[in-house]
Symmetry: C2
Subunit: 542 residues, 2 copies
């Protein structure tokens, strides 16, 4: 019994920055997530689903000392005056869960989690305030085997969802190596501002290259738009270790090329070729070359050389040497399991934004090209990232608990699969049984019942059946592959008409009037053969 | 670089009324939901995932005219002063989505949705402020075929998740019939308070029975605790139609019994037996009797008699007659598809709480007994409900849009499956490869790699390997079926030890010292036979 409404009608709108997902958008994501979770589970990771709502103090993004906390989360005050908020990632809740339940959980605790997270940020094109994350973490072990396992699992996961080997690479670095580089520059440990500025500059290496980094670490540089960017102000000897570190890749390649030439000159062509193969093993242009792809030794040489190179740059720093040693350990473990440089490589340029990483950091990048909004080809880029964070649980318990993990950007990975045509595409609509005679509803229902029992998605048209054209428009909008038609005449003869809508659409586009009249896309079959005939048409449609 | 922390440590706690779900709690629910969604999809329903956050005006529970809205939802003010809130169900968002996107959606629009909803209510034992719902609705058709379809789908869904036929029943009623009963009482249409009081009393019929309802509709009654409950204050002729309506079931049963007796007396035993079978067709004690179970005609007689009975009670009311006619239509459609009274019955006592239902209402009840917290047997009760609501979209558009749907109480249904042992039970943990020699980590990793490639869940122990007992405790805590052990000695001989932990636990409970020493639960096999041997043990464990 509706009361008389005096207020204006509400607007039918999602809040700003939120959206709805329909049909295949939902099911394709669910399919992908179930494949990811299948790999995680096979690696011994257990499911965890924490609540969407956490106390603000547990999330730890800000303190409730102002009337209404901002700081990137959606927050509100509960009845008992406690501030609550929607989780902004799946890592902060994991730290809370582990601290709360640590006596009941196995150690190490391997867990995966999938679900939406919320950010109270300015929305933009393709940037929403609710989106999915899919994480796997191992809590309670400092062993590099845990980090290696995460990297191997990430590679397996990408292949499981349909990214082919060669179309992705997992890049691994170590924060300790970066700290070693910073130590080599001589910047004091407590000069956090300068250290952060250096890290930010390292992160720009991909864009501005060697000379750009040199300028940005020194006096500054004119950017493409003509604006002058202030430099960090380091001196030449301080800049050198940073650039040497960033140039590791090309320097190791150059060294290998020189050595190969020397070997050829000395007549040792076997060695020369091996060194060349090592050099090519990380080059995208050789990624499909079977000679290089299958040369495990060549790729092992590459990795060893990169690690030795890093050792030379940061070796004098204790923390830096520790980082290189950790990378070597991860690399050895991965190689022993046949994860080589075609899937997982040591890459000194990986920084990862989050401040809390304390050791190895990883990033999964898709290496195939897509066209950007302006039609220019560019690499697809990062779809997952993570690393070791040893201080997160400490906030709660006071004791450091080592942990490492990875987070997959679900929507980005799904977009990549769509770009590559690796999803189901537009999901198929149901077979639509049309209604010619309202009094025969029970017979139409019996038809869909038969189809469903045979595993065929099917439904009766439930709108107003008066206008048959509307029924066909409906079937079209649903993406139906087949329509069933039966009126008085067909019932009298115990027959049904089966219309192949896919073929029908093709004929409608290309056919002459004569072809059209022959209606080869529609057949009449006995009612008893309905299921069989529909199944045949569906299998013909492929 | 952590800054020095001066604030006290945060408490590691979920907010009041929220909880975490671990391992099998998550995966069993996911399995059940995927089966439900499979049935919905087969019926032609499309997935919809709307955002967790809606504007308060779209949800329509309250108006933002106070500083902080209460009213059962979690709400907060966005930057632009708009009030936002977490959705409290999946129906209100559907109305918003349909109003917003109606020009792009097919009509009728069949959609399903699965996800958490949030209620800002006082939490209690087993009552949480975040829980799952799983809904299916058809928007845009007034056809009773849509309601019949929902009921059939609900029955199919329950069977798909593992509730056997006979262990559930879908009860169907119609609000219009209830309105017809109210009309028959002569209570004026605008006396909403009295009408609501009558509806609430009808809802108590299951508990207080015929005499209780008579008292509660009249002068009142002493309840079991000795407290006096005020009555609605109706007069005897006003009470009669309500009680007659509620007693439909037993009155129809009595009439059938009388008629059967008469038939037997007249020597027409065939007819007498048929009438008896009709009477028994809705009695739980005959539900496994094949003679009754397979007697479609008997169950059709039952349904016809109930509808005729209702017709007699409310037939003089136009709205009441319309309701009976709708029930008859639903019932005919369902019977034509072989959904009979063993699965779906017309039951006049179904009321359903929500005010917005306008026509058919349904409720799925599990009929098997469980033990309550005090060890007394009781019926499991309702796990799903729904009905027709024709006014929900109108709030936004001004135009009435007919709609009907059902919502499954996910956690209750899951609890029922657990009670019946129809879930996977405690999910099996991974095979644990123990670490006897830290330097052999790569070899241990290779073992789990081999196991995983064979589809066997497996992991290396990544905790501190010093204390072997801790490794076995870990395997126990994980529920591992098998542990692999290989130390220096085994590696030298290229062998591995495989320990059957399930058998081991059985022996540990019952074995003598001699039996224990023979260690039949542990075998040594060549490394090359690792996968094969583990697979054999797992299949033996079943």
């Amino acid at each position: 019994m509706a009361k008389p409404r005096k207020t204006p009608r509400p607007r039918a709108e999602t809040p700003k920055g939120f959206r709805d997902y329909f049909g295949a958008e939902v099911t394709e994501r669910a399919d992908m997530l179930s494949k990811i979770v299948g790999v995680y589970h096979g690696y011994g990771f257990d499911a965890l689903e924490s609540s969407a709502v956490e106390t603000v103090e547990a999330l730890g993004k800000f303190l409730p000392d102002v009337d209404r906390p901002g700081g990137g989360v959606f927050a509100w005050q509960d009845e008992d005056e406690k501030w609550l908020a929607l989780r902004y990632d799946l890592t902060a809740p994991l730290a809370r869960v582990y601290a709360q339940h640590r006596n009941d959980l196995p150690t190490p605790y391997r867990r995966y989690a999938v679900g939406p997270v919320w950010r109270n940020e300015k929305p933009g094109p393709g940037r929403f305030r609710q989106f999915y994350q899919c994480d796997a973490d191992t809590v309670g072990t400092a062993s590099m085997a845990a980090d290696a396992e995460i990297c191997a699992m990430l590679a397996d996961t990408l292949e499981a969802v349909g990214i082919e080997r060669g179309d992705y690479v997992v890049r691994v670095n170590n924060r300790k190596v970066l700290n070693g580089v910073l130590e080599a520059t001589g910047i004091p440990v407590d000069d956090i501002a300068t250290r952060d500025a250096v890290l930010r500059t390292i992160d720009k290496f991909d864009k501005v290259g060697e000379s750009g980094v040199r300028e940005l670490l020194g006096k500054g540089r004119l950017d493409a738009s003509g604006a002058y960017i202030d430099g960090v102000g380091l001196l030449e000897p301080q800049i050198e270790p940073v650039v040497g570190f960033l140039m590791s890749f090309s320097e190791v390649q150059r060294d290998l090329a020189l050595e190969a030439t020397r070997a050829f000159d000395e007549g040792d062509s076997e060695r020369g070729e091996k060194l060349d193969r090592a050099r090519h093993s990380v080059s995208p242009e050789f990624k499909d070359d079977p000679e290089i792809r299958n040369d495990v030794e060549a790729r092992a040489i590459w990795t060893t050389r990169v690690l030795d190179h890093l050792q030379r740059i940061v070796g004098k720093s204790v923390i830096g040497a520790e980082g290189v040693e950790e990378l070597r350990e991860i690399s050895d473990l991965l190689m022993a399991q046949d994860y080589h440089a075609d899937r997982i490589i040591i890459d000194p340029s990986v920084v990862r934004g989050l401040g809390y990483y304390t050791g190895p950091v990883f990033e999964a990048e898709l290496t195939f090209e897509i066209l950007d909004e302006k039609g220019r080809p560019r690499q697809f880029g990062s779809v997952a990232g993570g690393g070791r964070y040893d201080d997160l649980v400490k906030r709660f318990t006071g004791q450091a608990v080592p942990a490492t993990g990875v987070s997959i950007g679900v929507d980005r990975l799904l977009a990549a699969l769509r770009d590559k045509g690796r999803t189901g595409g537009e999901a198929q609509g149901p077979v639509v049984v049309t209604v010619m005679d309202r009094d025969r509803m029970a017979d139409y229902q019996a038809m869909v019942g038969d189809l469903r029992r045979a595993g065929i998605r099917a439904e009766v048209y439930l709108g107003n059946p008066k206008n048959f054209g509307n029924q066909m428009k409906y079937a079209d909008r649903r993406g139906s592959p087949v329509a069933i038609i039966a009126g008085e005449d067909e019932f009298a003869r115990d027959m049904v008409q089966i219309k192949d809508l896919i073929l029908g659409a093709q004929i409608a586009e290309n056919a002459t009037l004569e072809e059209w009249k022959e209606r080869p896309s529609q057949v009449e079959v006995p009612r008893a053969q309905l299921v069989e005939s529909v199944r045949e048409i569906l299998s013909r449609q492929g």
